[in-house]
Amino acid sequence: MSGRPRGGTPSRDKLLAGSAAPDFLAEELGGLDRALGRRVNADREGLEKGLAQLVLTLVELLRQLMERQALRRIDGGSLSPEKVEQLGETFMLLEERMQELKDAFGLEDEDLNLDLGPLGRLI
């Protein structure tokens, strides 16, 4: 890369602009430890909660994608007011159901933004 002595090791500080240590990266950096080989204890309870987390994150992802699709259709003006009302009620109902499921498994909103380690966040 330009500007460095030939054959030297790359600098591990590649910050070019902006803030060096933004707060919003705290969670992702926590996930790095897991990603880079420091193994996490997989006990049974953790495993079950992990499975619920996985499933509910998928559901949440689909819910968000469907909602965005519906919003685009609404923007496009192709839906009747009755349909818009029906969609809104459906999504609200879905949101309520999601909350019930989250409560049942003791999961918060942040838990559903599933950190896939090196693959980034799912949502």
Partner: protein, 228 residues
């Protein structure tokens, strides 16, 4: 190259540089030549483990190559069974590699991450927690929230996109409460890197958001075959 050993691949280059040096686990770098592209590799008993050191070492090899030649960086862990398989790969994907070498020639990748403030002027906030919205009101609130987030991100992405050869928005969806999360990758001419960095600093101040820009990186995000 010893037959029967695993070939670990660092990158595809237009031509092999004069002196290659060492790669992971101190293994010597070697070139496997195809008709119009060359793979830079090293031979190992088994696939190297992905710890922080190994990742930086892979990166070091790619960056050193970039000082002399045009490089398509490999994903970490890319291996071929042997030199003949590698040659076959170079032949079968020759058009793709030659095309990509021209796409990235003379450019580097810059990464931008940001958390932007999204003004939530929706009626939901005004309505208060107790009132149950109608379906229509709910959809309108969600629409406004989505548009506000998209506008916020475009204020950052728009100017930066103009300074880049190519760009990718890698993350624009946010969970509730993180609708201002942004992650973008930009393929920038080497000569424009300073201007790009200055623009990021300016935008960070202007938008009052948390912004980080790292680089220059080899163009990892612009050589992956699948559209991201």
């Amino acid at each position: 190259m010893t037959p029967g050993r695993l070939i670990y691949v660092y990158g595809i280059v237009d031509e092999a540089p004069a002196d290659l040096g060492l790669g992971l686990e101190g293994a010597p770098l070697e070139a496997v030549a195809g008709p119009r592209a060359v793979a830079i590799v090293s031979a190992h008993e088994r696939a190297p483990e992905a710890d922080e050191e190994a990742l930086w070492q892979h990166e070091a090899v790619v960056e050193r190559l970039m000082e002399d030649v045009v490089v398509l960086p490999m994903r970490f862990g890319a291996t071929a069974a042997g030199p003949r398989q590698m040659e076959a790969l170079l032949r079968s994907r020759e058009e793709e590699f030659v095309g990509l070498l021209e796409v990235v020639r003379g450019a580097v990748e810059l990464s931008v991450r940001a958390e932007l403030p999204v003004t939530d002027a929706s009626p939901a906030a005004a309505r208060g927690a107790d009132a149950e919205p109608s379906g229509t009101e709910y959809m309108r609130d969600r629409g406004q929230a989505l548009h506000a987030a998209e506008r916020a991100k475009e204020r950052l992405h728009g100017p930066l996109k103009d300074l880049a050869r190519r760009s990718l928005v890698l993350e624009a969806v946010g969970a509730r409460g993180r609708s201002g999360a942004f992650r973008g990758a930009y393929l920038v001419d080497v000569g424009r890197v300073d201007a790009f960095a200055a623009r990021v600093d300016g935008l960070a101040r202007e938008l009052e958001g948390d912004v980080s820009c790292t680089g220059p990186w080899p163009p990892y995000s612009f050589v992956a075959a699948a559209e991201r």
